[in-house]
Every structure is written in C-alpha cells, then in structure tokens.
C-alpha cells in the first residue's frame, strides 16, 4: 500500500471511530496490528499518531454537550471524509477500493459498535468509490455476520464439517473442522476474501489465521487445516467458475501411447479425466517425457495409440471443431516479448 493511501486510511479509521462515544481499545489495537502488517516498526508510530489525531480531534467540544442525546456526526467530519475519498479515488484501482471498504468494516467489527453514523460514513465512502450496492451489501454481510443463513447468495462459499447438500450455498465439506471458513468473491474485481470462525489452528500460505480478521485469498493460495486435504485456490475458484452459463468442459485422455519415429516408446498408459477450473502439475526427471506428453495432450503430436477427448471430440482427428479451445504456451524462451500475455495466449491458441 502506498504512503498516501495508508495515510488516507488512517484518517478514515480515525474519523469513523471517533463517532458515537469515541475510540474503543479493541479498535486502537486493530489499527496498530494492521499497521504492523504493512510497515516496519519505526514508521508504525508515525501513522498511528495520525490515526490518534483524527480520532481524538474535536471530542473535547462534544463532551460539553448534554449527554443522553444522540450525537450527530460533525459536518466538518462528513465533508472531510468526502475530501479524503475524492483524493484517493483516482489513485486506487477497483481492487484496492474493495480492500479499503473491507478494512473499514473490519475496523467496526472489532467492537461491533455498529451505529447509524458509522454505517452512514462507510456507505458514503462506498458511494464516492462507486462500488455497486450489491457488493457493498455482500461485504457487510461477510465481515459482520456469523449466522449461516446470511451467506446464501452466490457470492459466498462455505467450508466446514456439515453436509450442506440441500442448500444452494457453494460449499466444500471437510470433516473435523471446527467452525466455518467463509469465502467471499467480489465478481467485478475478481477478488476472493476469506475469514474463519472456528478455534482450530489453520494456516493460509504458512501463516496462522486469526478468527478475528479478514484475509484476502489471492491466486495460488492454499489453506491448511488440521485434518483432511488442504484447500487450494483452484478448488475455490472452480466452484465460482462453474456458475452461470459458461459452457462446461471435460478433458479426457484414454490409454495414450506415443512411439517416436525410431520406434522407442515415449509415453505409455496415460489416462486422466478433468473438468474446467483445474490447475494441474506434471513432475518428472529430465528426459522422462514431460514435453512429449504435453505435445500429445495439446494436439501437436498424434498418439500412436489411444485418444484425447475434449467434450467427447477427438483432439487429433476432429481438429476443426476444437479450434481455439486448446492452447499451449511453451517455456518462456518462446514467448514473443513484443506481445502482451493475452496476445501470446491468443497467438498460441
């Protein structure tokens, strides 16, 4: 996160927490630990000071007012918040805006002091950022709610011990896991976030997960749980990809054998079947036949025996019907530097 965004975030954190009775110790703690994750220890205090300044300002004046009356948000604060958002709006991309929104909700979730004033401020931030209403609502539910019934929209996925076969939720069943891992997908930014509600020690990419925090779940991540198989990014993304009207793809390799021109057998007895949304690795020593295998599986070389089927169509004999469906990018020395990743893929497809 850039210096400017972090500064803006500290001001927003401060202005939100000072509403309705001021900063709670849990919030102060949250801000400090948030900064520690982003910065080296020396500069943490500098930003933390900025937060304290904004959360404390003007509270002297409010104390003078009669108690018992609901305190209205100061107009100066409202406009100040607008100014901060406007300033960072142009520098933040869509993903970063969602992250800011999530952090604001996370901040108020630390003490669950969810008041109209605080929510109005977050709504206004989302409004200036032009984040669609449905996504703001999904983020709010994701960060603040715990009951399963709230998570029954397609944005959510639950990972827990229960068999949820009958509900519409996306889910992965993992036996013996305490609590639930909740996944939220923000479709417009293609981002995933996760939080955990239980008491087991679970790890994401080797880091211990706290059940009080929200984590982003980037590409290539995996979650390790005490019992059972780890949960990989592709497992999660696969559930979302299979949504909607995208054509489903099956890929099947049956008894493939490939013989070189000199008669030596390159690969044999290859059988596999997969669906869309899977990421697969092939390991083998140098000369074991990885390249040969990929050449056959991608349609470049014809197998001597067996067949490769995509949605039932033979990759080697019905090429025309599968045009554009399969592609191969060889090792990086064959990438064309002048082209973008997309163009490289397009060219190779």
């Amino acid at each position: 996160m850039s210096e400017e965004i972090l500064k803006a975030l500290m001001q927003l954190f401060g202005l939100i927490t000072k509403q309705d009775g001021g900063v709670e110790s849990s919030e102060t703690e949250y801000v400090r630990s948030f900064l520690k994750q982003q910065l080296s220890t020396e500069v943490v205090e500098e930003y933390f000071g900025l937060f304290l300044k904004h959360s404390a300002e003007a509270s002297k004046k409010e104390e003078g007012e009669e108690s018992g009356k609901v305190k209205l948000t100061s107009m100066k604060d409202s406009v100040k918040i607008l100014g901060i958002c406007k300033r960072i709006n142009k520098q933040l991309n869509r993903e970063q805006k969602i992250v800011v929104l999530i952090r604001l909700y996370e901040l108020i979730s630390t003490d669950m002091k969810i008041t109209d004033q605080r929510m109005a401020i977050i709504d206004t931030v989302a409004d200036v950022f032009k984040i669609p209403k449905e996504e703001v609502e999904a983020v709010e539910v994701f960060v603040l709610k715990n009951d399963k019934e709230h998570f029954n929209t397609p944005d959510f996925m639950l990972i827990n011990d229960e068999d949820q076969g009958k509900v519409e939720n996306k889910y992965i069943q993992t036996s013996g896991l305490d609590g639930t891992i909740i996944i939220l997908r923000i479709k417009s930014a293609d981002l995933y976030f996760m939080r955990y509600t239980g008491d087991h020690e679970i790890f994401m990419n080797g880091l211990l997960i706290s059940n009080k925090r929200v984590y982003s779940f980037p590409k290539g991540s995996f979650i390790r749980i005490p019992k059972g198989k780890p949960i990989y990014y592709t497992d999660v993304a696969g559930h979302y990809l299979s949504d909607g009207n995208l054509a489903k793809i099956t890929y099947e390799v049956k008894d493939v054998l490939y013989r070189f021109k000199n008669g030596a057998i390159g690969i044999r007895n290859i059988n596999l079947a997969e669906e869309q949304g899977r990421l697969i690795g092939v390991m083998g020593a140098s000369g074991a036949g990885k390249t040969t295998l990929l050449n056959v599986l991608s349609g470049i070389e014809k197998p001597s025996e067996g067949e490769v089927l995509i949605n039932g169509l033979n990759l080697h004999t019905q090429k025309d019907e599968l045009e554009g469906v399969i592609g191969l990018i060889p090792q990086d020395d064959l990438l064309i530097e002048e082209l973008t990743v997309f163009e490289n893929l397009y060219y190779n497809a």
Partner: protein
C-alpha cells in the same frame, strides 16, 4: 425553466431554484430518510440548468445541519456548479453559518478545498 420551491421540514431542507429571478437556495436541516430520492429532482434540475446557465450564479447555502449522506449529495451539487465554472461562467457559493456554529464554517472550508468554486462565508446571528 420550471421553478423548484420545496418547503422544508425537520428533516428536509428548503430548496428554491428559480432561474428567472436568479434565486438559488438550500436552507434548513438536511437529514432525509432517503437522501437520493429527496435530492433527485434537485440534481436533475441543476443538470438542465448547467446546459444553459446565467452568466453569474449565486448559490446560497444556509443550512443548520446536514448528515453524512447529505454531505455527499451537496458535493454532487457543487461538482455540477464546478462544471459551469469550467465552461467559463461565474459561480459564487454563499456559505452561511451561525456565529456559534464553527463546525458549519469549517465544513464549508473543507468543501472549498475539494471543488474549484469561489466561496463567500457569511456569518449570521439569531
């Protein structure tokens, strides 16, 4: 252009928008239940006005209080007036504040930092 003249309540402001007499005013208290639906007509009117504005527009804002959600709409209104300025016409915002309400003065100053419009601050007492 039609004239908009909305009488205020405890939660909604008075709005007068009258091109022919050159009167533009927002006053009272602004904390409507549904901010966007209340201000929709106002924003639409200003859009239409911005297409063919007077050479000089004096916009009086004399609010006692506005809530966070209203603050965003007020900014949207000011941004529309900023466009008029960009198109070469003059716009002045007269920002009224009560002598005991420093918060209102400071809010005006914050606005003037965000938008490129001339602000005149006018103090009043009871």
């Amino acid at each position: 252009m039609e004239v908009i003249n909305i009488k205020g309540t405890d939660d909604t402001p008075n709005v007068i928008l009258d091109k022919s007499s050159g009167q533009f005013e927002l006053s009272g208290r602004s904390l409507p239940e549904d901010v966007s639906s209340f201000y929709e007509v106002v924003l639409n009117w200003i859009d239409e006005y911005a297409a063919d504005p007077l050479d000089r527009t004096e916009f009086n804002i004399k609010l006692e209080y506005f809530n966070t959600a209203s603050s965003k709409v007020i900014l949207d209104i000011l941004l529309k007036f900023e466009e008029i300025v960009e198109n070469g016409k003059e716009v002045v915002v007269k920002w009224f504040y009560h002598e005991d309400e420093e918060d209102m003065l400071e809010a005006g100053e914050e606005y003037s930092d965000i938008v490129d419009i001339a602000f005149d601050y006018v103090v009043y007492s009871d």
